[in-house]
């Protein structure tokens, strides 16, 4: 029994310690943001590998999620003769929830894991240490551009995901199931609120972008510099990001839409 408490205490302490180190690391990232902003080239090249290279994954997934939403929604709505609301249902689900959440989960798997592996391997091959000895701060040179690229890319990717999903829903709803095209768009236009739906969805994706990229760069930087250590860190990035996204989604949803 005593052992149980002891190990519980030890693991809580190590979680707190990691959280503390992660926060200090995040503070260092914030402090080095000005040095990245004067060299935007570093940021642009990272936006390409973090954002642009995730584009096709986001487009294809968004299309399928929108199509499935339209199929599932149609059968439920048509029971009530409300299939004209399909556009609203697809758009609201995507913009408020599925766009930010699914795009962030995909982003964690595609870009987050790559960031952790890249930074972890740079650490394992002494590239980060080498940079320090060349008087180049690896946080400012390597980590911060990647963090900012993730933070900026995530809302853009989530927006693209939702937009493509709505088009996917259109193909199925209007093209396959034969609902009225004008109704699909006009109902959506009438019911989707800019502040309530679109801005709140964007806020979610910014928060998810922040948490996923923070976890990814910290796990890479903090990885044990061996092949096993980097592989564990990469796994942790995906698992912790998924937990963080879903938990934060619940909290944000409760705050944004809880009083409706």
């Amino acid at each position: 029994m005593l052992n149980y408490f002891q190990s519980l205490g030890a693991s809580s302490l190590s979680v707190l310690e990691r959280l503390g180190r992660g926060s200090i690391f995040f503070a260092n990232i914030l402090l080095s943001i000005p040095s990245v902003l004067i060299r935007p080239r570093l940021l642009f090249s990272q936006m390409y590998s973090v954002g642009v290279l995730s584009f096709s994954l986001i487009v294809i997934s968004g299309l399928f999620v929108g199509m499935v939403l339209a199929l599932q929604g149609f059968y439920t709505l048509s029971d009530f003769g409300a299939e004209g609301m399909l556009g609203v249902m697809v758009a609201a689900s995507l913009v408020r929830e599925l766009g930010p959440v699914v795009a962030a989960l995909l982003f964690a798997g595609r870009a987050g894991s790559a960031l952790t592996a890249e930074i972890g391997l740079m650490k394992a091959t002494e590239q980060l240490s080498g940079m320090e000895m060349m008087a180049v701060d690896p946080v400012a040179r390597i980590v911060t551009p990647r963090f900012l690229a993730g933070l900026i890319s995530m809302p853009i990717l989530a927006t693209i995901f939702s937009a493509i999903g709505i088009i996917g829903g259109y193909f199925i709803g209007v093209g396959l199931l034969g609902i009225d095209e004008g109704g699909y768009w006009s109902q959506m236009q009438a019911k989707i609120d800019f502040n309530m739906d679109i801005i709140n969805g964007l806020i979610k994706s910014v928060v998810f972008g922040w948490v996923v990229t923070w976890i990814a760069v910290f796990e890479g930087y903090d990885a044990i510099p061996t092949s096993d250590g980097v592989s564990r860190a990469t796994t942790r990035t995906v698992v912790h990001s998924a937990f963080a996204i879903l938990a934060l989604d619940f909290i944000l949803t409760a705050l944004m839409f809880g009083d409706i």
Binding site: Q127, S129, G130, A135
Partner: protein, 270 residues
Amino acid sequence: MNDLTDDSTLIKVRDVHFSRGNKLIFDGVDMDIQRGKVTAIMGPSGTGKTTLLKLIGGQLRPSKGSVEIDGSNIHNIRHKELYQLRKKMGMLFQSGALLTDITVFDNVAFPLREHTNLPESMIRSLVLMKLQAVGLRGAFNLMPSELSGGMARRVALARAISLDPMMIMYDEPFTGQDPISMGVLVQLIRLLNDALSLTSIVVSHDVRETCAIADFVYLVSDGKVVGSGTPEELAESESEWAQQFLLGMPDGPVPFHYSAQPYVQDLIEH
């Protein structure tokens, strides 16, 4: 222990203690590194020679003691000053530590582009000069993955001298090299030291190669300096430890067997 405190000493390591977890790595190390000389730090694997370089470079902090470089205590200065000082220090890592996503040329140009505002034409000339010095001007366009181990180390050496440092630290430069690239590196370390008026610290356990170019040698074992002197003095030293290490004898002050309970007891116990 020579305790020179005049200007000829570039680095003063005083009573440095360092532990990793519960393992004591250094238990009071004192060293003086003379300007313009090649100083070797030798000892068996696992004695923390690389750790010592990291302590000198300010990447690790000793639990006690101090490291003074060119008059400033490297662990007491501000972050900015430390980075200023590091611009004058080159370090050659065992793996080369080249940035793998850019070419040889860009690797050597990296410190110049980070720390100077020189025009690209001048950077090109400087990089080609440094690459010429290590014999790899023709390889400027290759990626690090296309280099052999010896070539990677020479490129890293060109990068380490790109800002014309006052000192350079070599971490196990000869490990895993074929005889030709080993010979090239041995010669380069001495040549560059003399031609560029550098101060070199070579951490190694390759006795023959290191003694051939070192002006002064420190032998480190069990967290302490166990011998020091010129290679000739050490060769003639009567210290059992120096003899064991320099002649590569399997047993001696550094025992062949890792510490364990008595053999017989281990065998009959189960």
